[in-house]
């Protein structure tokens, strides 16, 4: 990771290689903290995403620092952020690049975790089985993803599900999990401070802390999984637990609504989402506590077997 101290660093995350460029010391420090353990890319590896984060002007490097991500767009879609929040600029920049420039995958805006299985006594390898968690911002999908990722499931992503439409396999994209506001306290209580970034205060989404990706998800970052279960979680404090199954055209419409790039992929996306609609189980979950939601997902995955 010394490369970043010199200004740039190439690292692997799932099927992608990203090159990060910044000379901003605070961002270098924050990045190395939350991306500790990620594999570095070789010099000859193809770079999928180039992202620089720097001060908006020379003056703003030193005086009330303000930074902006630069992904090489003619008209930048990014907004400047205070220097203290530079890591958010980098994370949002990477998300934007994946969401807009990765049409080799059908992408869903969702969390994904998968169950891995040991080979059987006869040496037969069972495919990993994934659950995709989609829903509106604030529905609790990142918290549920984080809870499962540190409780026997392998983290694929808390942001994007990457699906190869040729074989309907999901590919891991294990980035640090962005937790916000009350969910930070819930997860710090479970996992301790050491797996979290420092808190980022007064962001556009309130307080954010990044939860580091578990080591096994980085070590197995190229191991795909079969999607079996799709859930739409909804955190409803004080409400009773509810599970409602839906299927057919409604399931198709809900899954399609979670896709980021189905319009760009055309018929390949239509075929893939139709096939998934016929094959996967779909549920809406209403939950009150993280433990309750995690039990629901465990049970539903058993049922979907």
């Amino acid at each position: 990771m010394r490369g970043l101290r010199r200004g740039t660093l190439k690292f692997k995350v799932g099927p992608f290689v990203a090159r990060i460029g910044t000379t901003y010391p605070l961002l270098q420090q924050d990045f190395l903290d939350i991306y500790e353990g990620y594999p570095l890319a070789a010099p000859e590896d193809f770079v999928h995403f180039n992202l620089k984060v720097g001060p908006v002007s020379l003056l703003r490097r030193w005086f009330r620092p303000k930074v902006i991500a630069d992904g090489g767009f003619v008209a930048s879609p990014f907004v400047p952020l205070p220097g203290d929040l530079a890591i958010l600029a980098l994370e949002m920049g990477l998300n934007w690049q994946v969401g807009t420039k990765s049409d080799q995958f059908l992408i869903f805006h969702s969390g994904v975790v998968a169950k891995d299985f040991e080979p059987s006594a006869t040496g037969e390898v069972r495919p990993s089985r994934a659950v995709l968690m989609a829903g509106q911002s604030g529905a609790g999908k990142s918290t549920l993803t984080a809870g499962l990722a540190y409780n026997g499931w392998r983290l694929f992503s808390d942001e994007f599900a990457l699906m190869d439409t040729s074989d309907l396999q999901l590919y891991p994209y294990p980035r640090p999990i962005s937790l916000k506001n009350q969910s930070i306290e819930v997860m710090v209580e479970r996992l301790g401070e050491e797996v979290f970034s420092r808190p980022y205060l007064d962001t556009p989404k309130g307080t954010i802390r990044y939860l580091k990706a578990p080591g096994d998800s980085l070590r197995n970052g190229d191991r795909p999984a079969r999607l079996d279960l799709v859930v739409f979680p909804e955190y409803s404090p004080g409400a009773p637990a509810q599970v409602a199954e839906f299927e057919g055209a409604e399931a198709f419409a809900m899954l399609r609504g979670a896709s980021v790039n189905c319009d760009r992929l055309g018929q390949a996306a239509f075929d893939a989402i139709s096939d998934l609609t016929g094959r996967c189980k779909f549920f809406h979950l209403q939950y009150d506590t993280l433990d309750m939601a995690m039990r629901m997902v465990e049970d539903l995955m058993e049922e979907a077997a």
Binding site: E247, G248, A249, A251, F252, A253, R256, C262, D263, G266, Q267, F270, D271, S274, T277, G278
Partner: protein, 114 residues
């Protein structure tokens, strides 16, 4: 995605005063990809890149238009015989509404443009 497609739809929209006498036609039915789930049909239109979810009545209407151009009156007549017991006024209104939706989605065009 031929360059001639957009003006045709534009003209269709310009003239799209849905009258019972307008004869509707479904251009290039081969560009439609279908999937069925229970009573609902999913339709991907290669020409527009749009996806549609069709209820059984909408599917019947599109099937009839695929077979041959129809005006609203003939669709009402054919579907009334298929769906006996339906309130005729409600069926007529539903067919009218569906034709409007198909027209604005670019799925059908008046037959005189074909």
């Amino acid at each position: 995605m031929g360059s001639g497609r957009r003006p045709i739809i534009g003209r269709a929209r310009y003239f799209s005063v849905i009258e019972a006498s307008t004869v509707w036609h479904l251009p290039e039915p081969g560009s439609l990809v279908w999937r069925s789930f229970d009573s609902y049909s999913l339709l991907f239109n290669e020409r527009s890149g749009d996806t549609h979810v069709l209820d059984p009545l909408s599917r019947e209407i599109l099937d009839l238009l695929m077979e041959a151009p129809h005006d609203e009156t003939s669709l009402v007549r054919e579907l009334s015989s298929l769906m006996e017991g339906q309130d005729p006024a409600k069926l007529e209104a539903a067919i009218h509404e569906t034709l409007e939706a198909f027209d604005s989605a670019g799925l059908i065009i008046p037959a005189y443009f074909s």
